[in-house]
């Protein structure tokens, strides 16, 4: 047998999955994602530069209007007025700060810490209750909360009454606080479960070493535990922020009111696009929303790739 030179042939394998079948497996998913995810992503950007609408001049012949839609969102004199984009943006920022960053994540962490390495009925009950609050359909919990927050009959005011606090009309007086409170209740389970898993990954010897050294709970947390779960903290913060930013369910409780005082950007987008059917403007808001989402998500991925522990 002669000695052929060693050159690279195109690698073909018989292994596990022939290429043709593999590509066939991928096709449905690729098709769906392209049509219903990627294509809308591109199209919404395009629409945002037009005056497309369901009625009026934009319906028959949508035309290119440049950045007019965006400009309308940022008119300095009117920007922050109730019902305008600035108002929705401000509400959203407060909403995210209050319910995600200062609410769900710390609370989820606290619960995870409190129940770490403890088993028993109480743990099961608390975890189940939080998880059910998280996964129940939005409409059902919305009605439950409308009842909960009612000024005259709501359970919250009844409880506050036992503590001597007078009845508060949540819807009229503190709508933004109400939805912040709701969203904390709604989403804490995710952080709780995430941190629970992360804490569970810490080898027991770490806890015991701290005990032997006589560290207090706070010291132990600050110097040993927190550094070890930092990746999860970032994960939780960014994901919860993203989800809170986009969440629509509070609309079912306050309707964004009264007078737009609890209107967040998703609600604002919905109103512009589907109450007034101004698709072009709605698309512009959507693009802004997605840009913020994208920045946040990129930060998350960046952080995740940089810090991998254990």
């Amino acid at each position: 047998m002669e000695r052929p030179r060693l050159y690279l042939m195109r690698e073909r394998t018989f292994s596990i999955l022939p290429r043709s079948i593999g590509l066939a497996f991928l096709t449905p998913a690729v098709l769906f994602i392209s049509i219903f995810l990627l294509f809308p992503l591109v199209w919404v950007i395009v629409i945002s530069f037009t005056n497309t609408a369901l009625t009026g001049p934009g319906a028959a012949n949508p035309s290119f209007v440049g950045i007019a839609n965006y400009a309308k969102l940022f008119i300095p004199t009117r920007w922050l007025r109730p019902g305008e984009f600035g108002n929705a943006l401000r509400n959203t920022l407060l909403f995210v700060l209050g319910s995600a960053i200062l609410g769900q994540v710390p609370l989820g962490l606290s619960i995870a810490l409190a129940f770490h390495r403890r088993k028993g009925l109480l743990r099961e009950l608390v975890f189940s209750a939080a998880t059910i609050a998280w996964i129940l359909p939005g409409v059902a919990v919305a009605f439950a909360w409308i009842a909960f927050l009612d000024r005259d009959f709501g359970t919250l005011n009844t409880i506050l009454g036992f503590l001597g606090i007078p009845r508060i009309d949540w819807y009229f007086s503190y709508p933004l606080y109400a939805i912040i409170f709701f969203n904390i209740w709604r989403g804490t389970a995710f952080s709780m479960l995430l941190f629970s898993a992360a804490l569970g990954n810490i080898p027991p010897s770490f806890w015991e070493t701290a005990d032997v050294l006589g560290a207090s709970a706070w010291q132990r947390f600050r110097t040993i535990i927190f550094p070890l779960i930092r990746p999860s903290v970032f994960t939780a913060l960014i994901l919860v922020t993203l989800w809170t930013f986009n969440v629509f369910t509070p609309y079912l409780i306050t309707g964004g009111g009264p007078l737009f005082r609890s209107e967040t950007i998703p609600m604002y987008t919905y109103r512009i696009a589907f109450k007034f059917f101004e698709f072009g403007r709605g698309a512009a808001i959507a693009v802004l929303m997605m840009t913020i989402n994208f920045v946040l998500a990129t930060i998350y991925l960046f952080m995740q790739k940089r810090r991998r522990i254990i």
Binding site: P4, L8, R12, T13, F14
Partner: protein, 360 residues
């Protein structure tokens, strides 16, 4: 003596992954009913070679023949081989019976025949009473035998084993070794067995192919390889503890050639070799440690004595080098500090500076 046509043949087979040459121009002839071991350190390409024979990888170059048929372009389903994987690959959701029966089920054998055959094979492997259990419900040794049963149930032309004993504990491993060797002799099926354990290869194989960095560096019977290693790598790989290798150089002298080591030299009368750097090798069982110098002794310093029960393992320092010596004695040897090493001069090897054996 006429050699029969080889049963499994690799002709100049190479496999390249990206920039890495895993298998480099390997040519092997394996005879019918032979137990052939592929031996080498991790990453030497032996598992890749096995997978090439199985059809799980396709060679970048070269041809593969099984029973006279060119199988290079055939997928694994059509090669009629039986393979035992390192992790056994028993399907967790099927009982042992269903696992073993799987190749027959694929070949659409009638159920009654399948049952008969599975029971036959299982009783041969002593797991007949476990067939209704799931893999998770039997021990590691029993799982291993189930994997072997599945490999041979459809009477393939070739058995392929990929380090099948490495997940067993030491005692089980020895039992399994004897069991598998006996089984193979009984069934008479050509077997190719990959392992990194040289004792295993020596104990079980009719012939061993030693692989190193993608190449076959020597093929032969276990004793041939042990007694006449072609290279330093093969010499050091076989045997436990490995062969002692001491660096030195050759110098021509009036009546022959002299090996000059760090603290001793050996004169080879009437032999002529190139001058230059060489290595001297000798096996730990071919040396003796004594308390007093004699005609052919080398000064050394005792490092440790390890009693192993059946023998003693002595570690000595000779100059800057460390060597081991096996000593068979009933009583603990009483050596301390400075000792003398006697080599069996009929059992030494010389390797040139590339590692090739030049003496004997």
């Amino acid at each position: 003596m006429t050699r029969q046509k080889p049963h499994v043949q690799l002709c100049s087979v190479s496999k390249v992954f990206g920039k890495v040459i895993a298998v480099n121009d390997v040519t092997l002839d394996i005879d019918n009913t032979e137990f052939f071991a592929l031996l080498g350190p991790s990453g030497c390409g032996k598992t890749t070679t096995l997978r090439l024979i199985a059809g799980l990888e396709r060679p970048t170059k070269g041809r593969i023949f099984i029973a006279g048929r060119d199988v290079t372009d055939l997928p694994p389903q059509e090669r009629d081989v039986g393979m035992v994987f390192q992790d056994y690959a028993l399907y967790p959701h099927m009982t042992l019976f269903e696992n073993i029966a799987y190749p027959l089920r694929i070949r659409k054998m009638p159920p009654k025949q399948i049952a008969a055959r599975v029971h036959e094979v299982a009783s041969h492997l002593l797991i007949d009473d476990l067939l209704a259990r799931l893999p998770s419900q039997v021990s590691g040794g029993q799982q291993q035998r189930a994997a072997v049963a599945r490999a041979l149930v459809h009477a393939p032309k070739v058995f392929l084993f990929d380090e099948p004993l490495s997940n067993l504990d030491a005692k089980l491993r020895l039992e399994a070794r004897a069991f598998l060797k006996h089984l193979q002799k009984e069934l008479g099926v050509t077997t190719i067995y990959v392992t990194h354990d040289q004792a295993e290869a020596m104990a079980m194989a009719d012939r061993i192919g030693v692989m190193f960095e993608g190449r076959i560096i020597q093929v032969g019977t276990p004793l041939e390889l042990y007694r006449f290693p072609n290279s330093k790598e093969v010499a050091a790989f076989l045997g436990n503890p490995p062969m002692n290798i001491l660096p030195g150089c050759f110098k021509r002298s009036s009546n022959g050639c002299e090996f000059v080591g760090s603290v001793f030299s050996i004169l080879f009368e009437n032999l002529q070799f190139e001058e230059g750097d060489v290595y001297l090798g000798f096996r730990p069982e071919h040396a003796k440690v004594v308390n007093a110098p004699s005609k052919f002794s080398i000064p050394a310093r005792l490092h440790t004595i390890q009693p192993l029960g059946s023998e003693f393992l002595l570690t000595l320092e000779v100059g800057r080098d460390t060597i081991s010596v096996r000593m068979f004695s009933e009583e603990e040897p009483k050596f301390v500090g400075k000792v003398w090493l006697e080599l069996d001069v009929n059992k030494i090897y010389i390797f040139d500076k590339e590692g090739k054996r030049i003496f004997p």
